[in-house]
Symmetry: C2
Subunit: 337 residues, 2 copies
DNA sequence: GCACAGTCTGTTAACGTTCACAATCGAGCT
DNA sequence: AGCTCGATTGTGAACGTTAACAGACTGTGC
């Protein structure tokens, strides 16, 4: 047998099966009106040649692919990474494939460029992880007819949106600390241009004000352990601080360490709660009480919403808000008497 | 102006600029022999129409895209996630885009399927994160002519490979503990079907045997804090254990916690070293001495090797082995006298 | 026997690029 | 003036698929 110079195409299969290329196409697309016997002959020819349809040709004529474009910041933050990997998995399950465009920053222009590259590939739809304002701005220029879902996007924007109810999670965390008997709760927050961080701040604040507790000054940080540590060093010096809610687990880790260094015991002297429930949180010293968002569910809901748009051919304005759950471990206790 | 029923194509631009479609193509591909004046006219027409070239059509005729296919296990392990996000960033820098296929398991078939989907999209090359044997097996069926780089792949396989020198890293870690005066070093290893884990085991073993130290029985784990904790509970009960090298930082975290629970102080009673230098490691209690691989460099080297193949049109058999560096923090001290 | 409605299959023309080649244009030289 | 050569531009044919339509082949009812 001669090694073929080019890969087998539909016509090659057709020739081998003794049918027209169009019939091969029909077999491939599960068109109903094909005789069983013909179908089998074609299938056999496909197998014999090891034929695989050329997606580019298909895309060229149909104008749409089975690819979902995702835009995300390149990062090793747990939440985004977990969401991303679930997204891909979920998409494959539905017969789609995921194309990820990473951006270094969440500024408008890089995001717009990434979206542009996706559109060039004629993706079937877009999932954009847009946790800050500027990332959302990039959506303004988007054509109306492209299916779109934002994750952690601007709640004030009318597009389809999947998000975790940060406010409820933070409220539960703060409430949990108040219930334990603490007079008030300090908050080490995430960067305040993140919607997530804002939601957690407002949930924390609501829990305090509803309970008539004093609202301590906000401690602002990024998402990393280092800044948790810096803020923790300050908190550790204030002897009246007995409860801290950190905007994520890594911040909480930094706080734990700063408290430890200064000899303030957790949870005996200070109680700490985090957010995210990273897999390691259960092994912090002490094991961390935290709020767990279901990132798999976020991914699944996003794909759901996107496919609904793709199928219906239009924006539906749906949104899904997922409520996280409080995971209680040993880092919370009543304040000392 | 009438809203166009379809997107502008090259012929539309050509008509507007008063040239042939071929000239437009030349402008787009930076072909040298185009008069400056013509180029400007074409550019103007492109801008006016908001024309964007159709990649599918281009792909159809050239047979290759500017897309790099990546296969990786969907996971939130720090190493793979860090590599993945760097890969995408690095690729974009070079004018490529990255298409990620996530697989749930590293078994042969799922990987082969993922590769198949990439080939269907006519990717320009493949980067496969293949840290276990079965993942490498899937590469057997691959056509010879597709550029390919494996990350953390089988060192015994002749393909292009980018990897971190696990053996050297583990050797350095173990040596560091011996230098501090410990009689021997225990190792909590990763899953032994991972090449990474094997390399770390053999580096550890070599350091011990070279020093004439006793080689304690191996403690086998997965990569997660939970199993570090379980193994740590055992280690904590053995009073003669004074030094532990954990195969990654999350295992080390579990060990730290188990030791703490049992009242064994780190580093006074037991010294601990990890591997990976996750961003949080510096905030463990105590801050963790660990081995830092440069994941950005891994990604950059991978893209380098891949583009070299793409440009030259053939496998080059190159490989890059990156040496990780030891990061010393407070979790190591001499044993008690 | 013949029209008729299905069912199945084939033919031709897109889709929007690039490639190979042909044609034209100018400048520089004889 | 005519020739040559390089620079610039145009023409027609791919690439491999789906869409639209046409044709052939069945069985059914009169």
């Amino acid at each position: 047998m001669v090694r073929p110079a080019r890969e087998p195409a539909m016509t090659d299969v057709a020739k081998l099966a003794g049918v027209s290329h169009q019939t091969v196409s029909r077999v491939l697309n599960d068109h109903p009106n094909v005789r069983e016997q013909t179908r089998l002959r074609v299938q056999a020819a496909i197998n014999e040649l090891g034929y695989r349809p050329n997606k580019a040709a298909r895309l060229l004529v149909t104008g749409t692919s089975q690819v979902i474009g995702v835009v995300s910041r390149s990062s090793t933050l747990y939440g985004p990474a977990a969401t991303l990997s679930s997204l891909a998995e979920e998409a494959v399950k539905r017969g789609f494939t995921v194309n990820v465009e990473s951006v270094r920053t969440l500024d408008r222009q890089p995001i717009a460029d990434a979206i542009g590259r996706h559109l060039d590939q004629r993706v079937a739809g877009l999932v954009i992880i847009a946790p800050v304002e500027s990332a959302n701005d990039a959506l303004d220029d988007l054509p109306e007819d492209i299916p779109l879902v934002t994750i952690d996007g601007d709640p004030g924007r009318p597009t389809e949106l999947v998000t975790v109810d940060q406010e409820a999670g933070a409220y539960a965390a703060t409430r949990h600390l108040l219930n334990a008997g603490h007079a008030t709760v300090w908050h080490v927050s995430g960067p305040d241009d993140w919607f997530d961080a804002r939601g957690r701040i407002s949930g924390w604040r609501r829990a305090l004000t509803e309970a008539g507790a004093e609202v301590p000054p906000l401690m602002s940080a990024d998402w990393l352990a280092a800044s948790g540590y810096r803020n923790g060093q300050i908190l550790a010096r204030m002897s009246d601080v007995t409860a801290v809610f950190a905007a994520n687990d890594h911040l909480a880790l930094g706080v734990l360490r700063a408290l430890h260094e200064r000899g303030r015991k957790v949870p005996e002297d200070v109680s700490v709660v985090g957010f995210d429930d990273v897999p390691e949180a259960a092994y912090y010293i002490p094991p961390l009480t935290t709020v767990r968002p279901d990132f798999d569910a976020v991914a699944a809901a996003s794909i759901d919403l996107l496919l609904a748009q793709i199928d219906s051919g239009r924006r539906l304005g749906d949104r899904r808000v997922l409520t996280p759950t409080l995971v209680t471990r040993e880092s919370v206790a009543p304040p000392r008497a």
